[in-house]
Point group: C2
Chain length 338, copies 2
DNA sequence: TTGAAAGCGCTACCAT
DNA sequence: ATGGTAGCGCTTTCAA
């Protein structure tokens, strides 16, 4: 019970006006005399009338909703992403549909299905096929977040490669470290792929031998713990562990500390993202700051405007800057006192 | 471009039948002759027709969507929650709207607004006021997840109190520990409140002096790091740190390890949730297993059925069992070899 | 079995 | 400034 919604027609009848006038009043469109407006408002108040979304959406041929597709992994990264996206959507009065693909096979069709219920979709890089992305883009505005899509599909991402090269160079040059291990699957996500590329580039720049193949694990903290297990048991343990993100770096940190190793004296660890916790742990995590929230917000904005303006404002890509954050886990003396 | 949807009428015209027949075919309802069906299906295939959601929803007076309201914190707990909820929703062909309240003031009105776009809402305990919950429930089916709502609003939650009492008793009796510190804000969420109650109960049962007031911090990993900082600097450091969840326990673990303390020899740490990583760290985290995913799935199921059946199947509360998981961080010898 | 037509709740155009 | 009315795309009686 309780769901006996009152309609425009009811209000119109009650206020002794036409439905058109009620619509005008409740939308603030067109011209309405003070007297009429008062009568209508009165009836609206009296019955707690709120225009039905479905009726409105059908008439406007617009859902008032946007979709967010992500793999469904945990961690501060995804939470920031969701929040950044969501906050921009509520500001635009749009609701947010989410779809966790879990990297499943049938996610392509699920994404396409989602497209029928929203005005635009943001897809995290690496979660659905380029083919699906293309089909999607033929139906609704699409933006690839943290990755690049096929031609014609715009993207919003952060600068990964150069930042990782800079970080790696810091380890190689400033700290004179060799035998760096990279943790993360380059083929798992565009972000990791670029970071791995940056890692390699630093070695190449300095004419050092190619680094070992990456330790292909996921991006979650437990993967970092696993990485520590493998890396720190192997006889020639690496001098530094360069992680694809902060989550795994924290996992490696826990693993190393748990084995009684000292960081950075016995082993150096670095991350990527600059999650809130990374500044708090000791030693503070050396990492790269990425504006995750802003990335997501920008994505939401682009989708929202694209679904409003019919003018296809060219698929212009956005690349947000990142920033190397030196703390203590790389071997530098602690500089910041939080 | 590309959004020139084809309608029932088009298909009907193309197939030389009425819209009613097209509708019957695309929904598999009613009786349609083989010949008609073939003609319709052909037209549908040929033009890739898919019935519009808005039209369908308006006619059915049903959104085909459910809402999930949560504070928007990070961590495996929320991710599991979202995933459990979402997987059950996709199975029912419903989409999921999310709303991160961030524990803001205006979240009540946002939740009410969401109610106008979905067929039912799941609200995480402690995110909106009871008053809002009541209003919400008068519009759509509502279930409180991990908490209890006002009378008339059903809830789905896990057994917290007894489990925490058992865990605390284990520390107090088996390990003979005293001076246990509790980390978490009882007034922050129903879950924490119950866990704190269980913690106190164990002390009372054993006629021990009341424990110190809880260290009121959030539920994220960084809060655990903060907790370690405060707790382990104080002169009489506690013998054990009982955390409201695994996230904070992990934070405390990192903090303790980072200060060169040994766990459990120098300090005992326990959590709650049994996150995936908790079995992996060393020492393995002693905690309480909570079926988070199942909690969310059950919540989704109840909302979905409630929004289908008009029969108000009484607000029956669900309480899922929890289980004490003894590992090594409490001082017990490591038993499981993962 | 099939089709015509009446909505679902709202907006917007076109007269008045 | 106001009201009648024609849709938006679909489902579902009700007749035929």
């Amino acid at each position: 019970m309780g769901n006996s919604r009152i309609t425009v027609r009811e209000i119109a009848r009650l206020a002794g006006v036409s439905v058109a006038t009620v619509s005008r009043v409740s939308n603030g469109t067109g011209q309405v005399s003070a007297e009429m407006r008062r009568r209508v408002l009165e009836a609206i108040e009296a019955h707690g009338y709120r225009p039905d979304h479905l009726g409105r959406a059908l008439a406007a041929r617009k859902h008032g909703a946007v979709g967010l597709v992500f793999p469904g992994l945990s961690g501060p990264y995804f939470t920031e992403l969701i929040q950044g996206f969501e906050s921009e959507a509520v500001r635009a009065q749009a609701s947010v549909h989410i779809l966790c693909t879990h990297l499943r096979e049938d996610s392509d069709s699920q994404v396409l299905e989602m497209a029928r219920r929203v005005d635009g979709v943001a897809v995290l890089g690496g979660t659905v096929s380029d083919e699906a992305l293309r089909q999607l883009a033929s139906r609704v505005p699409v933006v690839v977040l943290a990755g690049v899509g096929p031609a014609g599909v715009p993207s919003v991402r952060a600068e990964n490669t150069a930042a990782m090269t800079e970080l790696t160079r810091h380890l190689l040059v400033e700290h004179g470290l060799r035998r760096l291990a990279f943790v993360g699957s380059p083929d798992g996500s565009p972000d990791v792929s670029e970071r791995w590329a940056g890692f390699q580039a630093a070695h190449r720049e300095l004419s050092l031998p190619d680094p070992d193949a990456p330790l292909r694990l996921g991006l979650q903290q437990q993967d970092g713990v696993l990485a520590a297990e493998r890396l720190l048991s192997g006889q020639p343990a690496p001098e530094a562990v360069v992680c694809a993100n902060d989550e795994t770096a924290l996992g490696v940190l826990v693993g190393a500390l748990g084995r009684g190793l000292r960081v950075p004296q016995d082993i150096v660890i670095t991350g990527f993202d600059d999650a809130p916790i990374s500044a708090l742990v000791s030693p503070g995590l050396t990492t790269v700051r990425q504006p995750v929230r802003e990335l997501a917000a920008e994505t939401a904005r682009r989708i929202l405007t694209a679904s409003d303006d019919p003018i296809d404002g060219g698929p212009e890509d956005v690349l947000l800057p990142t920033e190397l954050v030196i703390r203590h886990s790389c071997g530098c003396p602690a500089t910041d006192n939080p």
